[in-house]
Symmetry: C2
Subunit: 338 residues, 2 copies
Amino acid sequence: MSNDRQGASGVAGEEAIIQGFLAPLAAGFAGAFGLKDDCALLSPEPGTELVLKTDPVAEGVHFLPDDAPADVAWKALAVNISDLAAKGAAPIAYLMALSFPAPPSSDWLAAFAQGLEQAQKQFGCHLMGGDTDRRPGPITVSITAVGSVPRGGMVRRNTARPGDSVFVSGTLGDAALGLLLRRNARLGESWGLAPADAEHLRRRYLRPSPRLGLGAALRGHSAAAMDISDGLAKDLSRMCSASVCGAQVGLAELPLSPAAGKALAADPRLIMAIAAGGDDYEVLACVPADKASDFVAAALLSGVRMTRIGILSEGSDVIFEGAGGVPVSFPSSGWDHF
Amino acid sequence: MSNDRQGASGVAGEEAIIQGFLAPLAAGFAGAFGLKDDCALLSPEPGTELVLKTDPVAEGVHFLPDDAPADVAWKALAVNISDLAAKGAAPIAYLMALSFPAPPSSDWLAAFAQGLEQAQKQFGCHLMGGDTDRRPGPITVSITAVGSVPRGGMVRRNTARPGDSVFVSGTLGDAALGLLLRRNARLGESWGLAPADAEHLRRRYLRPSPRLGLGAALRGHSAAAMDISDGLAKDLSRMCSASVCGAQVGLAELPLSPAAGKALAADPRLIMAIAAGGDDYEVLACVPADKASDFVAAALLSGVRMTRIGILSEGSDVIFEGAGGVPVSFPSSGWDHF
């Protein structure tokens, strides 16, 4: 693998990397100056505020060494854009710092840039600046994304209230199951999955789709929202902690893709991966009861299905109920680096 | 050394790192939400534009393993703020992604946060968001800094013209000599330096001071500017390449600190380190002849001495003249990671 991206075919010089592979990604953004200045310039629209996020990804930690460079690029941008989406923000542009332990090959860079181009086209943003260096350790892609909201429009995490309905977008657990399949392809058979099912789960892990369509619905109707990146169990606990409330969620209510539904039917223990695994990049939104139906309708209009999975409560207990209302606990819920 | 920052005394959990050590750095910036939301919010002042920069630093590449954590923190922020300063921008806030190969100790984190606090107080900005993770490889501090300029006020790199005077701020070469001293303390004696001289050079390497006072002078009088981070020789070549011109610089004109002057007198070969070494974080500014005296006066008013070191020319040759006008070449000029 390492020969694919370093050694004799390595690209020589930061300038060659920047101008040969990265500058085309900045072509549509005037304030990037073709990546030929030291800084980027961003002119905010009057009446807007900026929403900013940085979330780096590193090989071996956030992506696997045999992931295709185009998938790595997509995911590196998507994980940041997903945060903006959950805040009701529209992406504008991003900065990217790349670090390599050895000069990358032209092939690797070309595929990586192609993945970024697909992603930024899908998400509606451009590269506006960055840095490239060489250092020991894993390949690292550090993106800082900037989006905009109408002034006062950013959807917060700590503004949910007891009584709010808890919604999630799309389906949960696909990426966590996709990662299990990446590590052991035979699981697909034991789960009774057709090849297309397995491919769906793998793709959901590799190419998350930030829910950008939800912006207006979130800003207009939700009390609080965040993206689900470290697993529903952990992220809902964070939301409740920030908003000083508890929650009651029915595990049977979690929206599943047909593939995840088949897998769960074959092995009920997978509910742990589905509810506490990471990399969903769906939106968790808390919505006052009187706005819930308008919220669901507005989301549907933008093409996103929201599913009500529970309700916020007084106190601080975040309770997941299994079959027959029995509480299920997630002893080590979600990903923590330390 | 590694025992100082990991192992039994390691801080447990991302939340403990963020809330215990980093949140106080964000206390002065409302849009940081105490580092308890997923994104930061920035409300640009009407009539301003934003200038953005990301430049990560890694242990063993950009700083030394035995550098004090407070110095590492200062430099990680300063290298980004220096870019903003050279563009005429005033810092507002920054995002920071930290990565550690092992849990850092409380002592390391406390000292690191103290260095950042000193730096952000000096530079007039606050932490507004970020990320903390664990991965193999060196400790890495990835900062993205955001500043503001009056609309249309950002000073570019590609707008210099033949005939412009070439100025640099402060003194050159101190940091490069300081790094040589860090690697071999005996050099100080052979250069005839007093202990205070050597300390001055070391400190210039460890604690660069972005020239933030220059903003108004640069915006009002300069044609183009950039900061000098990879050595004057390389950065002047970049400026000339972007502006499609050449330059003629007198090595005898380079402004030196008393310490650097003594070292150069003792070993004339050090002119290479002074003119082509890195980490100056001074400002390189090109100024039309009719604005030069106003520029120098405006800079002085803000406490920064600008020195004219040469002139931009037609063509593309960047010529450094030594004694008697003899051209001196810098075969491998400046730092390149690849």
